[in-house]
């Protein structure tokens, strides 16, 4: 089902290619802004316990993750 649907969607969105736009600049954001900084002030972070309370798995006050390397590595 997915493959057929994706073909239909890709066929429809390929219509963007009908527009002659070689010399048109791309728009990434509706309102262009650059170098937006906020004051570099130290502020309290979320309490560690509150953040870890929502983690799927915790060990030693850290996020516990499954192994990232295979046995041979």
């Amino acid at each position: 089902m997915f493959a057929g649907q994706l073909d239909v969607i890709l066929g429809a969105v390929a219509r963007v290619g009908e527009v002659a736009a070689a010399d048109v600049p791309p728009t990434s954001h509706a309102v262009a802004m650059t170098n937006v900084y906020r004051p570099d002030e130290v502020r309290p972070s979320l309490p560690r316990a509150a953040v870890l309370a929502e983690a799927p798995s915790v060990e030693d006050e850290k996020f516990r993750v499954p192994r990232i390397l295979s046995e041979e590595a």
């Binding site: 429809a12 004051p39 983690a55 798995s57």
Partner: protein, 495 residues
């Protein structure tokens, strides 16, 4: 049905301020309404009765202490479940976030609480805001209170249904390609997508970051304006937030309510109508133009030739951004984790989690977006879509030389039946035909009810230039003042 749930938000706040009703009575009346009808409507994913009563008690205490209350203090609100709320379950309609209780508030959540607005609960939505019917919710569909066999629009369909069903006078939606305006249209209420950057996205679970924008739903234009002014304004936690004064939308709604549109030029977009639109929708739209003319507005036709490519551009840009944004659901820091049995690697666990946690539409969009961004196809798809986006913005700029606002139907159709379009993604995507251009250009647009077709609501979309949100509210309120209230015809739900 209690009279308290029938009031507008403005009248509710006034009644509380004058002491004619307590905020607790108002909150309880809405909680009772939810208990009575939400079994049929299913607008909510989570109702927070305890929190709502506590927030209402705080408002009553402030009034008792002699404090002057803020304009919406004590008014109940339903929050779309894509906006994070500290300690309250937030799922974005997805199983991958089932049971998650955020450790912080979104900026708009904080502003709503600071305004004394009472959050009743979290509303249903298409998973991660991807859809136009709320059928893509991983939990259950929401039913349109006008006809329970039909969709309430989407992705903010829980929020639109809650307001139309008198479960809340106000709600928050988010709009990426039409997800506030189309649900407002098909449920007969008012919904506004602000100028991109006018409302902070901090704490709004991201779908397509360059398009996502939160906005208000209400049963009147003034109510939507009052909520707009609560949530809008600069936020240093969102680097795309505009550091500019909030548009004077409440004053504009009040000015519009006088019903005078003399000197206002309204452009009808030639490309948003005709073939593919339901006859009843076009009839209501034509009648709306007559009404606007009768209020003194000058109606002109404008052409926006690139709008016909908005659908194609949107369904490349939004999936591309979502494929990147949804990478954060990696089973490590929050949310679902599947297959962590000691044998599977981290990568295996991530794959198993995302396979189990995401629904079909989310997967379709991640696949399309990943493809559109891949090295061999980037220029033809994503790059070209961004250029089309520029051309659409230029079409708007040219049209706004000729008109102060542009109008179109909000959606080509009235609400369709639940289940009718679920197997055909393209049939679902064309719901957004009229709303996508304003999303891509970042311009503000409102939907106001403009009549019935086959007994179901039709919406009028009013689009304004970037940062001129007040024009949407002024013209919307003028129109509202001249027509019979659509919601007065909604069938009674309580059996």
């Amino acid at each position: 049905m209690s009279d308290l749930i029938r009031l507008s938000a403005a009248d509710t706040a006034a009644a509380i301020a004058r002491g004619e009703a307590s905020a607790v009575e108002v909150a309880q009346a809405h909680l009772d309404r939810i208990s009575a009808v939400d079994g049929q409507v299913r607008a909510f994913l989570h109702v927070d009765a305890e929190g709502a009563i506590a927030a209402a008690q705080a408002v009553d205490a402030r009034r008792a202490a002699g404090e002057t209350l803020l304009p919406l203090a004590g008014v109940p609100l339903a929050m779309k479940d894509v906006v994070v709320t500290e300690g309250l379950p937030t799922t974005a309609g997805s199983k991958i976030l089932e049971g998650w209780r955020p450790p912080y508030d979104a900026t708009i959540t904080r502003r709503i609480k600071d305004a004394g607005i009472v959050i009743l609960g979290k509303t249903n939505m298409d998973e991660f805001a991807m859809g136009s019917s709320t059928e893509n919710s991983a939990y259950h569909p929401t039913h349109n209170p006008w006809d329970l066999t039909r969709i309430p629009g989407g992705s903010s369909g829980g929020s639109s249904a809650a307001v139309a069903a008198y479960e809340a006078p106000l709600s928050i939606g988010t709009d990426t390609g039409g997800s506030i305006r189309q649900p407002a249209a098909v449920t007969g209420i008012v919904g506004h997508k602000p100028t991109y950057g006018a409302v902070s996205r901090y704490g709004l679970i991201a779908f397509s970051s360059s398009l996502d924008q939160a906005g208000p739903f209400g049963r009147t234009v003034l109510d939507a304006a009052l909520l707009h002014e609560v949530i809008a304004g600069h936020d240093r936690c969102d680097s795309t937030s505009l550091d500019l004064p909030v548009a004077p939308v409440v004053a504009a709604a009040r000015e519009g309510a006088t019903g005078d549109l003399r000197g206002v030029r309204i452009g009808v977009v030639r490309e948003l109508g005709g073939e593919g639109y339901q006859a009843g929708v076009l009839q209501s739209f034509a009648a709306a133009l007559d009404t606007l003319r009768g209020l003194g507005a000058e109606i002109v036709e404008v052409s926006c030739p690139h709008f016909e490519y908005a659908l194609a551009a949107y369904y490349l840009i939004a999936p591309s951004e979502c494929s990147s944004n949804l990478a954060r659901f990696d089973s490590v820091r929050y949310g679902l984790r599947v297959g962590d049995d000691g044998a599977n690697s981290l990568e295996d666990v991530m794959s198993l989690t995302r396979e189990a946690g995401f629904g079909p539409e989310v997967k379709r969009r991640i696949i399309i977006g990943t493809y559109a961004l891949s090295s061999g196809y980037y220029d033809a798809y994503y790059g070209q879509a961004q250029k089309v986006r520029t051309l659409i913005a230029r079409d708007f700029a040219a049209a706004f030389e000729q008109a102060d606002v542009l109008v179109s139907p909000t959606s080509p159709f009235v609400a369709f039946g639940i289940g009718e379009r679920v197997d055909d993604p393209m049939a679902m995507y064309i719901n957004d035909l009229c709303t996508l251009p304003a999303s891509l250009a970042g311009t503000p647009a409102i939907s106001v009810p403009c009549g019935l077709s086959e007994g179901l609501p039709v919406g009028l979309q009013i689009m304004a230039p970037t940062l001129a949100d007040e024009r949407c509210y002024r013209v919307g309120a003028a129109f509202e003042s001249a027509v019979a209230p659509v919601l007065a015809s909604i069938p009674e739900l309580t059996r």
